[in-house]
Symmetry: C2
Subunit: 205 residues, 2 copies
């Protein structure tokens, strides 16, 4: 299914389990992130093409949407308070804005993994590096399909994603963007089974 | 009252309403942030002295503490997953980890303020600039005394801070740090009355 009747699919790409990619998105284009097998998180980092000092801000996004769970109609904002991406369609309705991407240090602290292991921060850094973006510039990300629930006292429980095979979210670009995307490498948030993420780009015509 | 019997107060400083400061903190020193009149938020940004690419990360902090409301015994982590500050004492028990500091753009979007107006991002940038830190390097901060409550559906309500006159939080440094601190300039989160913040540094002896 296309984002709407007058959209054309331009690009299709599979992100293999525990890996990532980076791409540019033109203003007006629609990015579809698809959970191929279900219960798989995809981290999304986002920078303005031509000005990497302007980037996705979870803090601004939470502030202006007045909520932590984004869905259809909501907007992802930059640190300079500009709209970067709108949620055009969302088949899942539960994503995370609180966490940073998993990293070597996070896997060591949270899971006791001390040997080399794929992780979202390395996967984002490796692919965003071609645009001059360094690991230290990757802060909190949009953790698509991640199911982190808060209790009334603010305590967090991570549960399997609500996404089933083929579920997706569509994001429309408000400006020209550099986007890093992963198929998350951690255990718990992917229900202990890391699978693929498909990416499609549609041109609104 | 001193943080404990064997602490000596080294420095005392008043941050006037709608302004800020920056200081360095040595490993082991204790930073006290005091709400002078009550119901006043103080934003805290934090960088490693000698490596400003390592900085306070709300995402890592939420992850490792498994909660969004920090209090006594909890730890603030860096983007490289190192402990930066521990909460040693906390007279309030409600602070915020979700928001970015208020900014010119935020005041325009949220309050319709288009003329020049003090804001935490400018106040942090002006004072942290002496350490080579730029506005784009200031992401989500630790919003001390800020009272943002989440509903079960993740919607946010901002209420007056729970802090009363003289209430404080003590933070112990795990490493040598650069710290930016404000007396917040926004309206709603300070119950529409911006007042002073006192800062004290104690040396554990």
């Amino acid at each position: 299914m296309k984002p709407n009747k007058s959209s054309i699919r331009m690009t299709q790409y599979r992100i293999k389990p525990q890996s990532g990619t980076a791409l540019t998105l033109q203003k007006g284009q629609i990015l579809r992130i698809i959970d191929v097998e279900g219960e798989q998180v995809s981290d999304l980092a986002c920078f303005v093409l031509g000005n990497i000092n302007e980037y996705f801000s979870s803090g601004r996004t939470i502030d202006y949407n007045e909520k932590i769970y984004l869905s259809t109609g909501d907007i992802l904002y930059s640190n300079q308070s500009n709209p970067m991406l709108s949620v055009l369609n969302d088949k899942v309705g539960k994503h995370d804005l609180l966490f940073a991407p998993c990293s070597r240090e996070m896997l060591a602290l949270s899971y006791g993994i001390t040997e080399a292991h794929p992780n979202c921060l390395d996967n984002l850094t490796n692919h965003l590096g071609q645009y001059g973006i360094k690991a230290s510039q990757i802060t909190n990300v949009f953790n698509i399909f991640m199911n982190a629930t808060l209790s009334a006292h603010g305590n967090i429980t991570i549960a399997p994603p609500l996404s089933k095979a083929g579920d997706y979210i569509d994001l429309r670009a408000h400006m020209d963007l550099i986007v890093g995307i992963t198929a998350c490498s951690a255990k718990k948030c992917n229900n202990y089974h890391c699978t693929s993420i498909d990416v499609e780009i549609f041109e609104a015509v």
